[in-house]
Amino acid sequence: MIECKNIVKTYRSGEIDTQVLKNISFKINDNEFVAIMGPSGSGKSTLMHIIGCLDTPTSGEYLLDGQDASKLSADELADVRRQKIGFVFQAFNLLPRATVLRNVSLPLVYAAVAKEEREERAKETLRASAFPEGFWHHYSNQLSGGMMQRVAIARALVNNPALILADEPTGNLDTKTGAVVLATFQLLHQEQGRTIVLITHEPYVAEHAERIIHIRDGEIVSDGVNRNRRLINNDH
């Protein structure tokens, strides 16, 4: 469960303070699929950084899984990220000269999991996400964009995190492969009961979630159940 209480984030550049997030409060329960939507400059990326424990708020409280993450040091935040959060980025951010298996098992490297167990868990995760076995030993830069993002999703899942955080996951993909990625999220949500937070500026992408939080100029403008939900038929 995620809870934001009166979160304020201020950036200081020179003499001018810019308030990027103004008093944001909301709750996301376990097994929810939420989209945070807003135009660029709305503060949604900053919010994503705080939810993802990449940054801490200037004031306010952020509870992740019951733990207050708003006043942790850089290394403590790294521990929280490793244990509780799986990231999916717009630009995939895979290691180019590493195999699919190596990429997927990378988070376990920092959790000091032994090699055999690491590979076993990476294979399990890839199998669960129906990633074709023939590509497991390919280098990640030999894959198509859609395939790369599916590897990135598997990497986000390998640690069995409490929260999957996807930042514009379809931004670098065409509509068709984007749909495959969104379908994967819906599947993870429905079948495995994962908590997913999707950050996007596209209403079309946001409409794949159960609930949409609109954010503009650092404030929540609306927060409610998505009534026009797009469901993708998940027949592989």
Binding site: G52, L54, A78, R81, A91, L95, V109
Partner: protein, 408 residues
């Protein structure tokens, strides 16, 4: 992060940029290689200088006459060692009084024209005693050295150096039993010494030994000696013996002020120390010149690592996002730098070794690759990796994951 993963990441990162890694390693190879080669040349020189000092005998104290002054201690000096102030009795007294002396060998040396079987040469004739061979490290190749019996009996016998033998009888011949004529006196050849090699200024093989009593009676016609060599039982007693001999001779020669001594006592240890001070300075000089190239190599490492950190900013951001701590990141980059210098150091040592062997093979200069020098080079190369890799690694570790992920 497990150690094997660290190796895996390091290998992957370095092999991704083979040319760049290779060139950076080359910088370290040249640095370490030249340090190893220079130290080995310096130590080789030190070794050969010490060996040539040791070849005149070990633990030696040498007594030589002082200045020859004109009548009434006039202003004209004929130089050190030219005076005839040391007598046979002085040598006998040293033999008797200095209990710590292992052996005493007085000698009288002078150059004479030598003839044998129609050939002739001009060489150093040394009149000495049986213990000379022990004190001055003279080995006999054929026949025997001068015996105490020869000295007592004033025997007209001679032992030839190999070069003198070559000049008089031809190379490789056995001169034992032949007769040579020195200053119109016939000597029977009883032995041939082993070659000792030259010491730069003098050829220790162009020499003839005869009994000291014979030389004093038939050649010089007086009882003076030119040098008394005293062998101490170990290096530690050299200074004591030197002092005791000085005191004894001052007393015998009735000289109150040591400054006015008509003889000088030289200690071999002093000569060795002076020589090694010189060669050590030379080695340091050579090594520090080579050390400059090592520093340049280290800067190359730092340069490459800084470039790598910039290039892999996104990767660093990703690693941090999925849970890498500062320590994990800095360790990874430090490992890359140390691996570069480690490989460079290893190749550098081999190359330095090979080039010092090549120097010996092509120029004949003695070289000596010592284990401490190699250990030092290895330690230095690892240290360079740590020192020059530390700053880039710290920079990588300090990157903010948000900035790093955003970096294009």
């Amino acid at each position: 992060m497990i150690l094997s993963d660290l190796f895996h990441e390091t290998y992957a990162a370095l092999s991704a940029n083979k040319v760049r890694s290779g060139l950076t390693i080359l910088g370290i190879v040249i640095g370490i290689g030249s340090v190893v080669a220079m130290i080995s040349i310096g130590q080789g020189a030190a070794g050969s200088i010490q060996a040539s000092i040791q070849s005149i005998g070990s633990n030696l104290v040498m007594v030589q006459p002082g200045f020859q002054r004109g009548a009434g201690a006039g202003p004209v000096s004929a130089g050190r060692g030219s005076a005839t102030t040391l007598k046979q009795e002085d040598a006998d007294a040293i033999q008797k009084e200095i209990t710590q002396a292992l052996a005493v060998a007085p000698e009288i040396s002078r150059r004479y024209q030598i003839t044998a079987k129609g050939k002739n040469t001009n060489t150093q004739v040394i009149g000495t005693v049986a213990s000379y061979s022990q004190v001055r490290n003279v080995q006999v190749d054929l026949g025997s050295f001068i015996s105490e019996q020869n000295v007592r009996a004033l025997s007209k016998v001679a032992v030839l150096g190999p070069t003198t033998r070559d000049d008089l009888f031809g190379e490789g011949t056995n001169p034992v039993g032949e007769t040579i004529r020195v200053n119109r006196v016939d000597f029977k050849v009883i032995g041939l010494t082993q070659s000792k090699g030259g010491t730069g200024f003098t050829n220790q093989d162009d020499i003839i030994f005869v009994p000291i009593s014979t030389a004093q009676r038939f050649l010089a016609g007086d009882a003076y000696v030119t040098t008394i060599s005293v062998q101490a039982k170990d290096a530690g007693s050299l200074a004591t013996i030197q002092q005791e001999i000085t005191d004894l001779l001052l007393q015998r020669h009735n000289i109150a002020d040591a400054q006015l001594a008509d003889f000088q006592v030289l200690n071999q240890q002093d000569i060795v120390q002076t020589a090694s001070a010189v060669t050590n300075t030379m080695t340091m000089l050579l090594a520090s010149i080579a050390g400059i190239s090592l520093i340049v190599g280290g800067i190359g490492i730092m340069n490459m690592m800084l470039t790598t950190v910039t290039e892999r900013t996104r990767e660093i951001g990703l690693r941090k996002a999925i849970g890498a701590k500062r320590k994990d990141i800095s360790l990874q980059f430090l490992a890359e730098a140390v691996t570069l210098t480690f490989i460079g150091g290893l190749i550098g040592i081999i190359l330095g070794w090979a080039s010092s062997l090549a120097v010996t093979a092509f120029t004949g200069i003695a070289t000596k690759v010592s284990l401490p020098a190699i250990a030092l080079a290895f330690g230095v190369s690892a240290a360079i990796g740590i020192v020059f890799g530390y700053y880039p690694a710290r920079r990588a570790a300090a990157l903010n994951p948000i900035e790093a992920l955003r970096y294009e």
